[in-house]
């Protein structure tokens, strides 16, 4: 392949991503409710099984509302139960990003089955982000009384901070790029001007 054709291949790919990206974002935002819905029972079950302090998880307009059994005291002395909101879209924008990258690479992803598989592949990374956002709010922003009731101290606090930062700053782009790379090894090699290594599935 000549250098000129190679450059055209990369240029065409970038152009296709830029065309698909706004469309993918629009569809993702409009379908946010149904797309986020499967995460709710998973979060409910996960935190319900692993912790004593999550009573219920609700999904309202792209936000997960964690209703806890943790007591909080207001400055005027009244007490209540802590409720934490997490903006799930912050952790799920990797879906439209990945879809745009995949559609720009190949039209074989234009099937419902493959889209469902892509969605499932991203789900663990998205759950990581939402879970650590919830935990970090409890441990670092809800006050010392709530943090004490949660029982995460010392090194545990450091791990929650690292898990939150990793889930927010790194996992969404890394997961999209990594899955795109793994699903399109032949195409990536073509973009790199190299022959297929025969590893693509």
């Amino acid at each position: 392949m000549s250098q000129g054709n190679d450059n055209q291949t990369v240029g065409r790919f970038v152009l296709k991503v830029l065309i698909w990206l706004p469309l993918a974002f629009l569809v993702w935002y409009m379908l946010a409710g149904p797309l986020l819905w499967p995460m709710r029972p998973l979060l409910d079950f996960g935190f319900g099984s692993l912790s004593q302090f999550v009573d219920h998880v609700r999904l309202v307009h792209g936000q997960f509302i964690f209703e806890t059994t943790l007591e909080v005291k207001a400055p005027d002395g009244r007490t209540g139960l802590a409720v934490v909101e997490v903006n799930a879209l912050k952790y799920t924008y990797n879906l439209p990003l990945l879809v745009a990258l995949l559609y720009a690479a190949s039209d074989k992803y234009f099937t419902f089955t493959r889209l469902a598989a892509i969605y499932l592949l991203l789900l663990p990374f998205q759950l990581w982000g939402v879970s650590f956002d919830f935990l970090s709010q409890l441990v670092f922003h809800a006050g010392p009384d709530v943090a004490r009731q949660v029982g995460i101290e010392g090194m545990g606090r450091e791990l929650v901070a690292l898990g939150y930062q990793f889930g927010y700053l790194m996992l969404p782009p890394i997961s999209a790029a990594a899955i795109w790379f793994l699903l399109n090894r032949d195409f990536v090699l073509e973009l790199l001007g190299m022959p297929s290594d025969g590893e693509e599935r």
Partner: protein, 172 residues
């Protein structure tokens, strides 16, 4: 056509290196001595560029404010381009080629990411004064995606310009 290196090996190295670099970045001593001064310098460069056409802009540490109104933006983690730089550096380090080519990739990649990031900061500053909802969208989703795309493009172009491992072996 060139001979591909083992992509599986590259990929595993990439995951490991970006994890290590990110953990180092998150250390308090690195944040205080490297990331925060670097972020403040980004705010200063952005405001200096904006002052070329808008004299109502002022930078104070990591905050850029408008003197015409109450609007201000704080450049936080995720907006300083450091994580994108880590992803690119990890992809460059993990790819088998000479250190000379890796260093050239670091320098050019760093420039490409941070030029795009300055555009991000400047556009977000004006979008925020225009419409808060659009600002949230551009800030949290659109620019994040575009910066990753920038990383992918830079890495693809870098790999295409460097000799492959077979060529490197032949040169040495």
């Amino acid at each position: 056509m060139r001979t591909p290196p083992s992509m599986r090996r590259f990929f595993l190295w990439f995951l490991l290196i970006q994890g290590v670099l990110f953990t180092i970045e998150m250390q308090r001593v690195v944040q205080t001595n490297v990331i925060e001064p670097f972020t403040a310098s980004l705010a200063w460069i952005s405001s200096t560029l904006m002052k070329l056409f808008d004299d109502s802009v002022q930078a104070q540490g990591v905050i850029i404010r408008s003197l015409d109104g109450p609007f201000a933006v704080r450049i936080a983690a995720g907006c300083n381009g450091v994580e994108a730089t880590i992803i690119l550096f990890a992809a460059i380090i993990a790819f088998p080629t000479s250190w000379k080519h890796k260093i050239i990739g670091f320098l050019l990649g760093f420039l490409a990411i941070h030029i795009a990031n300055l555009v991000r900061i400047i556009t977000l500053f004006y979008i925020g004064q225009w419409n808060e909802e659009v600002f949230e969208w551009a800030h949290l989703y659109i620019w994040q995606a575009l910066i990753l795309l920038d990383v992918i493009i830079v890495w693809l172009l870098w790999v295409r310009k460097i000799p492959t491992p077979a060529t490197v072996t032949a040169e040495t």
